[in-house]
Subunit: 139 residues, 2 copies
């Protein structure tokens, strides 16, 4: 199978691929979103901090295998940009399997860095909130 | 009382002041750490995302009033820098009141931006972890 190198031209493109990887349970795409060095960290809701590609890959492998189908809706995004670094803060609204309702929103801080191979994720910090607010806006 | 304008010359100086404000329950110092515009967000462990100075100030006012004395130890810091933006990921180990033990570590993503008034915090995303690991290293 040929190895296709993905190059994301913007933080938004990397972010779109991140949530697409979640929805499609595509571990290769997920790991193509993350920076290729080990200076990456990931915190899943309620979880420990995971540092480095191996720990991050292993966690997503488990999540993508174990979870029912996940549909994502994103809302309330705010951005802070510098030349080579981008911070996106947003709400993830996740619907599991055949559920008709969304889970309580997850707050995510997603950080992207411009690398030699385009924009890549370097941090995903997600935490559950207690409310059950529905998305005010989608993107 | 004269108004003293604090200018932090580095993300580290702003971060030191952030945790000093927590320990000293100094709301004025806390708010001097945050950027002066409303493009700031704060997530306390288990909490909703709070956007803007008024929401952030109000939350810290409640925390600083309601909490017992808090002693902080920080560990496992990793940094990602750009020219005007700095991301610090670290563990907060918090000891409450007269407790002899630390609470389970909190993962914090702290983001600072170089503003016209020096480095200021623009994001604090904190979430509890389930483990009770003691700090491996302190700073």
């Amino acid at each position: 199978m040929p190895i296709v190198k993905l190059v994301f031209s913007s933080p938004e493109a990397a972010e779109e691929a991140f949530y697409r990887a979640m929805q499609k349970r595509d571990l290769d795409l997920m790991m193509a979103v993350w920076a290729e060095d080990d200076n990456i960290s990931c915190v899943h809701p309620g979880g420990q901090r995971l540092d480095g590609r191996e720990a991050v890959r292993s966690s997503f492998e488990q999540i993508l295998k174990a979870s029912p189908a996940m549909a994502f809706r994103l809302s309330d995004a705010t951005h802070v940009y510098d030349q080579n670094l981008a911070v996106h803060v947003l709400h993830e609204h996740i619907r599991l399997g055949d559920d008709s309702h969304f889970q309580p929103p997850v707050v995510a801080t997603n950080i992207y860095r411009l690398t030699d191979n385009g924009w890549r994720m370097v941090m995903h910090h997600a935490s559950s909130t207690r409310s059950n607010r529905q998305p005010a806006s989608l993107h």
